[in-house]
Symmetry: C2
Subunit: 249 residues, 2 copies
């Protein structure tokens, strides 16, 4: 897969790069950021994939998180893909919680979304393949994390693919999208009315059916305005407890 380097900045001893490429799963051009700490010049490094939340692009984490300092200290490559397919011919919706910037990291089955909105496959196939082929990555040590909708993405992608991800964590994730307005709206339109199919993208349902063999760190502010109605970390905690794999951290 051919990468095109769109931008590069030297920072904290390493390089922050922005690449674009054709997304096989999304049928459109895609963009991601990657921070390569200085250690990557001499050896393969573990990788952390960051998934951003509603309305974000690959840029938000790159310019706001200040991850470079920590990535250089720890010797970890950090990658942030876009939150959805974009561009001419990609459908969109005026609702900030649906369409471009709001993929929910799933593979859509409903028209007109199913042609491009396959971010689950994009992360698992396109992105991991690119990371393995083009960068000094130790693909046996890949972790995934994210915020809000990206936290939902990280949790669900990890739970479904424990052989690919060594760690998963999330800031203020949407823990139970099938029981929250953002998810109910998006899943209906991406996946259709059959709610039994939604469970395949709900962290609470997935942890009950598939479990997770190590700690899960969820960092959540107690005074978050979206806590009760949209994020529902209590449901994830409860699901983990039911699975008897919950450990407090």
């Amino acid at each position: 897969m051919k990468l095109s380097l769109e931008a590069e900045n030297k920072t904290f001893g390493g390089h922050y790069q922005v690449h674009s490429h054709w997304g096989e799963s999304t049928n459109c051009n895609m963009v991601f950021s990657i921070f390569l700490p200085p250690q990557s010049e001499v050896k393969k490094l573990p990788v952390l994939i960051w998934l951003s939340g509603l309305t974000c692009t690959e840029e938000n984490f790159r310019i706001k998180a200040g991850v470079q300092r920590y990535a250089t200290e720890a010797g970890i490559i950090v990658v942030s893909p876009d939150t959805s397919p974009r561009g001419e011919g990609v459908p969109d919706d005026p609702d900030y919680g649906f369409g471009q910037g709001a993929s929910f990291y799933l593979d859509a089955t409903q028209e007109p979304w199913s042609e491009h909105f396959n971010m689950y496959s994009y992360i698992l196939k396109d992105l991991l393949s690119i990371l393995e082929s083009n960068f000094p990555t130790d693909m046996k040590r890949v972790g995934i994390f994210g915020h809000s909708m990206g936290g939902h993405g990280a949790l669900t992608i990890a739970f479904k693919n424990p052989e690919l991800f060594k760690s998963v964590s999330a800031f203020s994730p949407i823990c139970a999208p099938t029981k929250a307005p953002w998810g109910e709206n998006a899943f209906t339109r991406y996946l259709g009315e059959d709610t039994s199919l939604w469970q395949d993208y709900d962290a609470c349902d997935l942890v009950r059916t598939k479990g997770w063999s190590s700690d899960i760190l969820v960092d959540q502010g107690d005074d978050d305005e979206y806590l009760t109605d949209y994020l529902k970390p209590d449901l994830l905690e409860q699901a983990c407890e039911e699975k008897k794999e919950f450990r407090s951290s």
Copy 2:
């Protein structure tokens, strides 16, 4: 002066607040951010004022810089004002380098800018007065720093008011605005055609006439696309050397 708390977030043990208030110098409502580290609950703390660059608001530094960690470690209050007056009745210009978001931290003398574009006085009078009256600040230990146009603002405001500022530093500052396109355009329209009046807002001219009694830290990337034509740190270095007060850092 009455402050209105617009937003508040708990972060790194302290609080990031956004306040609005009437700006006496700018004749319009103004907004600034302030980070109060936990130490501010028990004692007065030194203050760092950050001035942002072209197109920014008070928000950029608050959400991008990650200053909270350092401010809590060091016990310093950090304040970032807006980069210009704004709102209904405040004139603007389509050029990103002029008008709203591009005050150049001076007191305009030309119509229609002179009614509101008095950010030099706003920082010196309105903001310092607010900090002294409303927050646990040690006003004998105030520093100022900034980026690009804000670096220009920090350097010029400090050089003209050494009794008020204990430190000054800048990232990629516009060091010689009277000899660079951004400054030439803005100064002509804010201050008029008489270029002799421009020197009062040029860091190179000011350091030659007024000096500075301690170190000045300027952090500048060597591969910055604006380095040669717009920023000109070599001219500031030369001016400091001429003043025989330059020390490398």
